[in-house]
């Protein structure tokens, strides 16, 4: 066998106390299509960033070899110079510029000190034809569909004569036809000797296109397999395979009457009008934890934000809170007993340059306002102090600015703010993201207390163990709709993953 075009040897990448990659080792053969599979958070993105120089050499342990020779990319430019290009999930194009201009952005051919626009268009046209794309090189990128934009992005990467192409979820936004075109392009590239790393949650594509598959789990390479003869189940088992430990102290309470009932909900995103949710039906009862899982982009956050009145336009279906219709903006939703703890606490959760007391009080000031409309500081501070103590926030006092707290303590402040509203239904969106294990367990204990007090909890998580460990029932979303609802007893990682991937199996319980 010839020398691999790229080898990763024992790559370990840490972010502070968190180890994102641990001894990752794999190799790419020249001219193969190599798929990377793993759950959300398994380390795929970190690995790509390490390979492409976003995490520069020196910020990780282990080494990279290209064609047998060690390389140390200091930047993405450096990696590009070695013929390595990455196409990210998020498009990096200027919508106001033409297709041709975008393709040659930053590497425009020059003639006598001026950009040679004729050549730009001419060469763009050739590239597009070579990949059999019916796209006008002079069209504005903003006028193209997302799928076509993605294809242009790929052409752009190829215009740099890359030998090694990394595609991160390239088909997430593509229609079936466009996926077909993309896979054909990739096969063409393989014939030309270009190596591709292909990352996708769509396992059927992985099986259809790849030569080999490497599975990542918890930042480690689990196994590299020849694709021939593999089934989706083989891959899913390796993606999930782990025990659910005592990390999850769920104490189930007997569920009471339905609190929140969602029937046939469909939601459009404002702006581009994309249908992000459709036919979503589920209910949550008091004292119950309903877990919501799904892959990235399945619509989990959108669902919570919509129910809370902060996102999207409802085009169909109904939502009721204890029998009464619910379609309120956040300030009313809170008055009605809903509260949301966002996945992005810096953006949606906290006023970072304010202190803990200010933040904790923000959603529930109404309760501490005196007759003259003035805030009763004594009542406010007493209440905040009690919450501060019961959540065991690690900070000197309430006057500490939240921006300087650790992730776990910031999350506790957000939770404290939510709890002070005395909610009936609490939406937790990735409540343990980026916080340490100790704080995680405290969050889980809090969930237990809430349900024991008869409150309903909706828990969105991209970690299967957390979902399975803490939920009484689990609804898996798949491309904006419910792919299956499982009771705690029914749920297995394989079933959940299959539902998230849109495979309706016989065991599915609707």
């Amino acid at each position: 066998m010839s020398t691999p075009i790229l080898q990763a040897e024992k790559i370990t990448k840490r972010f502070g106390a968190v180890t994102a990659l641990r001894d990752v080792t794999f190799d790419l053969r020249a001219g193969e299509i190599h798929a990377l599979c793993g759950e959300n958070g398994a380390g795929k993105s970190t690995l790509i960033k390490t390979l492409s120089g976003i995490h520069p050499a020196g910020s990780y342990d282990g080494r990279l070899l290209m064609e047998g020779k060690p390389v140390a990319f200091k930047s993405t430019k450096d990696a590009e110079a070695h013929g390595l290009a990455v196409i990210y999930q998020e498009l990096a194009m200027v919508p106001e510029m033409s297709v041709a201009e975008n393709i040659f952005l930053g590497q425009e051919p020059m003639k006598r000190g001026l950009v040679d626009w004729l050549t730009v268009v001419e060469r763009a046209k050739q590239l597009l034809q070579r990949f059999k794309l019916d796209i006008d090189p002079e069209a504005r990128v903003g006028e193209l569909g997302v799928g076509q934009q993605q294809l242009v992005e790929i052409v752009k990467a190829l215009s740099k004569r890359s030998r090694l192409l990394i595609l991160d979820e390239p088909t997430a936004a593509l229609s079936d036809t466009e996926v077909g075109i993309l896979l054909d392009i990739l096969r063409g590239l393989r014939a030309d000797g270009v190596t591709c790393v292909y990352i996708s949650h769509r396992l059927e594509e992985v099986l259809a296109i790849s030569d080999r598959v490497t599975v990542l789990r918890d930042g480690q390479t689990i196994e590299t397999l020849e694709t021939a003869g593999l089934t989706q189940a083989d891959i899913i088992r390796r993606m999930v395979g782990r025990e659910i430990t005592e990390l999850f102290p769920r104490r189930a309470t007997a569920p009471g009457e339905p609190m929140l009932t969602v029937k046939g909900l469909a939601v459009r995103r404002p702006g581009d009008g994309k249908q992000v949710l459709h036919d979503v039906t589920f209910d949550v009862r008091s004292g119950e934890v309903l877990g919501i899982g799904g892959l990235m982009g399945a619509g989990r956050t959108e669902l919570l934000m919509h129910l809370f009145g902060a996102f999207g336009k409802r085009t169909a279906g109904s939502v009721t809170l204890r029998g009464t219709p619910l379609a309120d903006p956040p300030h009313r939703a809170i008055e009605r007993g809903l509260v949301l703890v966002s996945e992005d606490r810096k953006r949606y959760g906290l006023i970072l340059d304010r202190d803990i007391g200010f933040n904790m009080s923000l959603s529930s000031l109404r309760a501490v306002v005196g007759p003259a409309g003035l805030i009763r500081e004594d009542a406010e501070v007493k209440r905040n102090q009690a919450m501060f103590k019961s959540l065991r926030v690690k900070a000197p006092d309430l006057d500490t600015v939240v921006g300087g707290l650790s992730g776990g303590n910031q999350q506790k402040v957000v939770l404290g703010k939510a709890l002070l509203t005395q909610p009936k239904v609490i939406f937790l969106d990735e409540p343990t993201r980026g916080i340490d294990v100790g704080a995680k367990v405290e969050v889980y204990e809090l969930v237990n207390q809430l349900t024991a007090a008869g409150q309903a909890v909706v828990l969105v998580s991209s970690e299967l163990p957390e979902l399975m460990g803490m939920s009484d029932r689990i609804a898996m979303l798949h491309e904006g709709t419910v792919g299956g609802i499982f009771t705690r007893a029914e749920a297995t990682a394989e079933k959940l993953m299959a539902a998230a991937l849109g495979h309706t199996s016989d065991e599915r319980v609707a």
Binding site: P330, I351, D353, F358, L362, S363, V381
Partner: protein, 408 residues
């Protein structure tokens, strides 16, 4: 005289340096380095103020005369009241460029109603005030509901209100009262609190401040919170007391405490209570600090921002009456460029243009710098060209410092 005034300025500035210790909970800066930076910033402003006073008292001896200081108090009051309204706008990270034109328009409207239509002055001012609040509420609604940037809407307002002002006064000079007579409108800037009443007022103010400080301190102690050393509290109260009495003594050497100073005192107290002790005030800071988080936290962001603009409308009218009364008549130039003085006063006083930060004390301090600068230049008969350039440079430097502080 010079020496006394300089001391007063120093004392005033010292109060600003220690500002974070307001009763109740005040924002605490993260880490000593930041505190040092803020202190440095406030300190440099204090030096600027002292330099301004020293320079003008040497360049123009009448600067520190009782008569001029009384005038300065009126000018300060007018600038500061407008800046206090601007504070509530900027704290939410909005902007209002139309207030100067609004000052002209609503002062002019009240003047026309009083002088030409022979309305009683209070009725004329009341109507003008109501209309101003309505117009600003509308501007606020357009900004938040239609999502047009405040910068553009209020820039349009600047032109529209100026045009309306000129229309209302048909490009003439409209006196606020029949010459030689007085009415409630003209008294706004010609009434002086009787000397004895001035002292009583000062006593009441100082007594209230002392009582509030001590009560707040007791409350914090009862809750087991950190408090500043008792000596600091007493020193602070003593200092405020000295300043207030010094101000009254100076004013009484001329004709007594001018009414606008009392209006400023009341406005400052109301704005302080609103921003520090009401839900609305908390929400202003929260929206400026992180609008998306504020929304998710259950704040009706649109309503609060519209409320801030409505309050601005009321303050614009109030400033309009004082400024027009101070000029004696509504002319086409009344209110011109006052929005820039108000913005400069806010920024000099530590209000962040990115929102979420700013205090009443800071704004008063910033307004004092702007008013002293303008008053001093007028006394020295500086040409209008140079005055414009100086105002512009002060604004630019203040904003530059604000940006630098944010970057570091």
């Amino acid at each position: 005289m010079t020496k006394v005034e300089t001391t007063a300025a120093t004392a005033k500035g010292a109060g600003t340096v220690n500002e974070p210790v307001t009763p109740g909970r005040a924002p605490v800066e993260p880490g000593p380095r930041r505190v040092a930076r803020v202190a440095w910033r406030d300190f440099s402003m204090l030096i600027a103020l002292v330099a301004i006073f020293v320079f003008f008292s040497i360049a123009s001896p009448t600067f520190v005369s009782a008569r001029n200081l009384s005038n300065l108090a009126v000018e300060l009051s007018i600038t500061a009241v407008l800046a206090l309204g601007m504070l509530m706008i900027i704290v939410t990270s909005q902007m209002d460029l139309s207030v100067g034109s609004g000052v002209g328009l609503f002062g002019g409207l009240a003047a026309v109603l009083t002088f030409e239509q022979q309305w009683p002055a209070p009725a004329a001012m009341a109507l003008s005030l109501v209309v101003a609040i309505g117009v600003w509420t509308m501007m606020g609604a357009i900004i938040v509901k239609q999502r047009v940037p405040a910068f553009i809407i209020t820039l349009a307002g600047l032109l529209v209100f100026k045009g309306l002002h000129w229309l209302v006064i048909h490009n003439e000079t409209i006196p606020i009262a029949v010459p030689g007579q007085e009415n409630a409108y003209s008294l706004l800037t010609t009434y002086f609190v009787p000397k004895l009443a001035g002292y009583v007022l000062a006593g009441v103010v100082v007594g209230s401040v002392a009582w509030m400080r001590i009560a707040a301190r007791r409350e914090r102690l009862a809750l087991g919170l950190d408090v500043e050393p008792a000596a600091d509290t007493y020193a602070r109260v003593f200092l405020v007391g000295q300043l207030v009495f010094l101000f009254v003594i100076l004013c009484n050497q001329y004709r007594g405490v001018p009414l606008p100073a009392v209006i400023l005192g009341v406005t400052a107290f109301v704005v302080w209570v609103v921003t520090q002790h009401t839900r609305f005030g908390r929400y202003l800071y929260a929206i400026g600090g992180n609008e998306e988080a504020a929304r998710i936290s259950g704040i009706a962001v649109d309503r609060v921002v519209i409320g801030a603009f409505a309050a601005m409308g009321g303050i614009v009218a109030l400033t309009g009456f004082m400024q027009t009364a101070y000029s004696g008549a509504s002319t086409t130039t009344v209110g011109s460029l006052m929005e820039l003085d108000a913005i400069a006063a806010c920024v000099i006083g530590g209000t962040s243009l990115r929102g979420g930060r700013g205090t009443v004390t800071g704004v008063l301090f910033g307004a004092l710098i702007m008013a002293s600068l303008l008053n001093g230049m007028t006394l020295m008969a500086v040409s209008p060209e140079i005055k414009l350039i100086a105002r512009g440079l002060v604004l630019a430097v203040a904003v530059w410092m604000d940006v630098r502080l944010a970057r570091s």
